[in-house]
């Protein structure tokens, strides 16, 4: 059965990125960077007491 795993993992890509996946990646990354910038600004003005 090990060869099954080998074949499956090394099979050429047959699933191109769909628009919904691109949207998920883009929104996650964009929102993540935006929120981190907001937190960094808050962190700057409200330092650890």
């Amino acid at each position: 059965m090990a060869s099954d795993l080998h074949d499956e993992l090394n099979r050429p890509a047959v699933e191109p990125l769909l628009p919904i996946e691109k949207k998920l990646i883009g929104i996650s990354l964009g929102l993540g960077v935006f929120l981190l910038v907001v937190l960094a600004v808050i962190n700057h003005f409200v330092p650890v007491s």
Partner: protein, 490 residues
Amino acid sequence: MTDVTQSLEIEAPKPLTEDWLAAGIGLFIVLLAFLGLSGTNFLGWAVSTSVWTDPSHALAPAAKTFSSLGGIPALLLTYVSLLIVLSIGVLITGANVARFATTFTVLFFLAYASWFIGNYAHFAAVTPADLKKFDIDWSLKLTAEGGFIIALVLGIVIANFLPRFAEWLKPAARSELYIKIAIVILGAAVGVAVAGKLNFASSLLLRGIAAVIEAYLIYWSVVYFIARKWFGFSREWAAPLASGISICGVSAAIATGGAIRARSRIPVIVSSIVVIFAVIEVLILPFLAEHFLWREPMVAAAWLGLAVKSDGAAVSAGGITEALINGKAALEGIHYAPGWILSTTATIKVFIDIFIGVWAFILAYIWTNHLNVRPGQPRARAAEIWERFPKFVVGFVLAFLAALITSLTASPETVKALTPSIGEANVFRVIFFILTFFSIGLLSDFRKLWEDGFGKLVAVYIVSLFGFVVWVGLFISWIFFGGVHPPLAS
């Protein structure tokens, strides 16, 4: 499916049951610590190991009131009590109690022997005062927590050179259960520590939000993209892989696998890779943190919480790092209050854990409605958020609140008695740490890395972890924790 994956599937933890079990055992120990406030000491008999040159003086009961008991009886009593409590837990989860009890006995004494050796003064002594105290002229300066590393390495040696023995020990090698119990007990210690530094602690907690954003929104999306676009993984492989590398190792991979309705072997295989790389991280990152970040202890603490995957490995790495950094700082005359580095790493990990259910629900919604729509297949349910919530966090929060509220509201006499009581519970936290380290090592069969078909998984893990996750984690930890130092010991 390979034999390896089959055995992993059989041994795969039952997260919900195991989480409640960890919460129950952890809270039971914390409750005994609180009952000690009534004047009767319920935990002081537990064994504690001091740094030694004469082994006959190494072991002793945790409380002086039990000193007549002696070290070896205290060790045996500790073993018997843990055996009884854990066996009852194992019985509740439906596992084979006799097999657990037999293997736990061997595992406990091997693990504790590692801790005992780690406390040898030539390994553990750090400061010139320590060297003078033990009348020795050299030490590896590993601190007493070097015993964790010895336990880990012993586990790895057994796993890789004595595979049959390792397989036999596996029923007792429940690293996730042990670390979750330890985290619940840690909750009480954090509560006591935080009470005295409320503003400082709340500032740190707010910064933990950055870790959640980083793990779920930034890490996950980048790793998913790398797995799909660069390595050509299918969605069914890429999503659990992204969660395993980005969020919280084993539990995240399993939660994601369930959420996207992946075949059961996929999160199991991903988990086995996560565990192996977590061990590699534990062996490397604390020493890098000591060398490069000892002047920035809280950056180091946050970094490990973000970079090391799996609860056990991350919190363990936090414990070693605290010992190493505090030891190095002590050489410079800086004496940090104990517990803050470890607590920060653990809190960040717990913060990240809390949102696994929410993230799994989001993925389940997208997959069942847009990517993997099958007639008759059940759609994502909001109830899955609670179903996948790591229940041991409930225990951590309860222990934390009980200690915090008591510290803030009780009479000065009670508050004064609370610290040593929680300290005795902490003895058990250390023992569960030792069991965790040994178990993690025991489950780290490095030969899996060379198995047919694993190469591509390992490649995406290495690229993502060491090319992205570790460095972004360091950068963001620096932004939010740079210049922040633990309180000094009073």
